[in-house]
């Protein structure tokens, strides 16, 4: 604590008051970053009468405590939570795996012109998704069904009677479509994360394995994959949070009420005409639970993913 790696209180380090000032600022920061969450938690436990009596961020008091709002929100969101997990987990695994393969192909096996591919991939991280929404809807709801129906009816016309329909009205198919979409759009960021990691792996090891006659795939399987396990943890955690939190793609790709995801159901709960804030706050907390849990358990890895390390 005394050998400074700098800091603006270095010269004053021994003065008690500057230290107190520093911690006061840091605590004010905690108040700033937590007050909406704290208010939400307090609000969700309140009855209507406690609502009127107490300030929003104050506890409900012994007689104003209720779990009704939580129960209502839980019942509304539960199918959405399941759908979200069903959609986000495969999407996350797919994009992490594909990102790792792409990064491997673009770093350890280097060839001229790969920078162009890398630029195209990285630019993909930054595109506003609004620019792809309309084609996305058209692809999943018109073009792909047309192709698949034509294909199946041509090949298996004797079985289908020539009128097989692509099940795009089926909720699970819509969830699968959403999952595949997220996997595709997750590839760029996953590639970037794995690429910076693979660049730190020594060339010599790869070259030596290659001299030993190892194929490109066996190098990936036996050297790169075991080395990337920590990076897989970072990528999976970060990517899961991103996919689970998305609303935009779900709004466009899922119109079956039964297969709506958690963010969609929460948005519907919030946007409703009659707003009872104890229910919507309970909804916010319930919908946030999966990512909150991931964040509390793997906060360090999440931060690494955020910082792109």
């Amino acid at each position: 604590m005394s050998t400074g790696d700098g800091g603006f209180l270095d010269g004053l380090r021994n003065t008690e008051s500057s230290r107190i000032g520093l911690y006061a600022l840091l605590l004010a920061g905690i108040a700033f970053y937590l007050f909406p969450v704290e208010t939400a938690v307090m609000t969700m436990f309140k009855t209507e009468s406690a609502f009127a009596r107490t300030l929003p961020f104050a506890p409900p008091g012994a007689d104003g405590f209720t779990l009704d709002a939580l129960a209502t929100a839980w019942n509304t969101l539960r199918p959405g939570l399941l759908n979200s997990l069903l959609m986000a987990i495969p999407a996350t695994i797919m994009s992490a795996l594909l990102g790792s393969l792409t990064a491997y192909g673009l770093t350890t096996l280097s060839w001229r012109g790969q920078v162009g591919v890398v630029v195209l991939i990285i630019a993909g991280i930054f595109i506003p998704y609004q620019a792809v929404l309309v084609p996305l809807a058209q692809f999943w709801f018109q073009v792909l069904p047309g192709i698949v129906e034509g294909f199946i009816n041509t090949l298996f016309g004797f079985l289908t009677g020539g009128n097989w329909e692509y099940p795009s009205r089926n909720g699970y198919v819509q969830l699968l479509q959403l999952s595949v979409t997220h996997a595709a759009y997750g590839i760029p960021i996953c590639t970037l994360l794995f690429r910076s990691y693979y660049q730190s792996i020594s060339d010599e090891m790869i070259e030596a394995a290659r001299l030993d006659g190892a194929s490109a795939f066996s190098i990936y399987r036996n050297i790169i994959l075991p080395l990337s396990l920590p990076m897989f943890a970072v990528t999976l955690i970060y990517q899961f949070t991103q996919v689970y939190n998305d609303l935009l793609f779900a709004l466009v790709l899922i119109n079956e009420p039964a297969s709506q995801v958690a963010t969609q159901r929460l948005a519907a709960l919030t946007g409703g005409v009659v707003q009872s804030f104890n229910t919507t706050m309970a909804g916010a907390i319930v919908a946030a639970l999966p990512t909150l849990l991931v964040y509390i358990v793997f906060g360090e890895q999440f931060a690494k993913g955020v910082a792109g390390e």
């Binding site: 790696d5 840091l26 393969l101 991280i125 058209q138 006659g213 948005a267 919030t270 931060a303």
Partner: protein
């Protein structure tokens, strides 16, 4: 994590023999115990390999995922541009004939488009600048060798792990006009009436502060909440940048007798340029994408006072079924994003970072 990596690298010889054991013809080299690694320079070997061979060998790994993602990203954008040249309404199949720029000229004379474009630029600039400033300040505070650093960092970054919909739900309660958190706070200190009075000359006749409905406050409210959510991100990036600055730079400034403020202003902060650039690019992209937040925050309330191009695009295309017009707005948004990331990617390329 670095330790794990170096430990694994140290066992490279063992891994290597494991690799060669998998291969049937690996015996003669597997026994040399890493001598080859020492004697054969990777560079000379790499130069001896023909480029075509490298391409053929690496393509199976990167090409399928790149085509998969490229179809959804670049294929979709090209398709979107094509649609913006039609007059497709979203019903039935699109007619890809009679291409013209009528959607773009319609946009130029559309007041809501200009309002959304203006809001987008204001949001982009104000949000990014304030977020960077707050993130830098917090990062400097955290860099003072404090106790419980991890706890502080975790809490400051927590809002970023929440979805836009969740944070929008929480902030809708904070900003609620009737008995929202903020208005009750103002009421507690008898400030609400004063504030409303302050705004009365601007033509406001309400009894309470309507944060999300007034034109003067709606966008500010959105920006403030987004800063709450993302300043933690700027903090993390700046903290990594601060930690990369050698201790000697602090000491040299001290020896020269620089005050703390001067030291940061003249010596430390200028060295954070790379962190600031990369953080601001990512923050601007967040701002361009802030659709989920505004969509959920606005709920069923009508009004374009906090419309940005992203929300306008969705409203036009999916609520009022004018897909071609929505596509045109989306192309403008895309060009705006290109203006942000193009120079950034180019400079990264020039610096050899890609």
């Amino acid at each position: 994590m670095r330790e794990i990596l170096s430990r694994l690298l140290a066992t490279g010889g063992r891994l290597r023999s494991a690799v060669s054991r998998d291969e049937s013809d690996g015996d003669q080299l597997a026994t040399d115990g890493g001598a080859t690694v020492q004697t054969t320079r990777g560079d000379s070997l790499r130069n001896s390999l023909p480029v075509e061979w490298e391409l053929v060998e690496s393509a199976p790994f990167w090409l399928p995922p790149v085509l998969f993602a490229g179809f959804f990203v670049y294929g979709a954008i090209a398709w979107n541009f094509l649609l913006s040249l039609t007059d497709y309404s979203g019903l039935g199949g699109a007619q890809y004939e009679n291409f013209d720029f009528s959607m773009y000229s319609r946009m130029l004379s559309d007041g809501t488009f200009w309002q959304a474009a203006q809001n987008t630029v204001v949001l982009l600039v104000v949000f990014t600048v304030l977020c960077l400033a707050l993130g830098l300040f917090v990062a400097i505070l955290i860099d003072q060798q404090i106790r419980f650093e991890n706890t502080f960092r975790t809490i400051y970054l927590l809002p970023m792990s929440l979805s836009f919909v969740v944070t929008a739900t929480m902030w809708a309660w904070v900003y609620n006009a009737r008995n929202g958190v903020l208005n009750q706070l103002f009421r507690l200190f008898n400030l609400e009436g004063a504030l409303v009075g302050l705004l009365r000359p601007a033509g406001v006749s309400a009894q309470v502060i309507q944060w999300l409905s007034w034109n003067t406050t709606a966008l500010a409210a959105v920006i403030f909440a987004l800063i709450w959510q993302f300043s933690g991100y700027a903090m993390v990036v700046f903290l990594a940048g601060l930690r990369a600055i050698p201790t000697e730079h602090y000491e040299a400034a001290r020896v020269d007798g620089a005050s703390t403020v001067r030291m940061y202003a003249r010596v430390i902060i200028p060295q954070l340029r790379a962190s600031a650039v990369s953080a601001s690019v990512v923050l601007m992209v967040f701002a361009l994408k802030a659709f989920d937040f505004i969509y959920a925050l606005r709920g069923s309330q009508p009004g374009a006072n906090m419309d940005i191009l992203a929300t306008m695009m969705y409203r036009v295309a999916f609520d009022s079924l004018q897909w071609a017009y929505g596509s045109a707005v989306a192309i403008v948004l895309f060009v705006l994003a290109l203006l942000v990331i193009g120079p950034y990617l180019y400079s990264e390329y020039r610096r050899g970072e890609l």
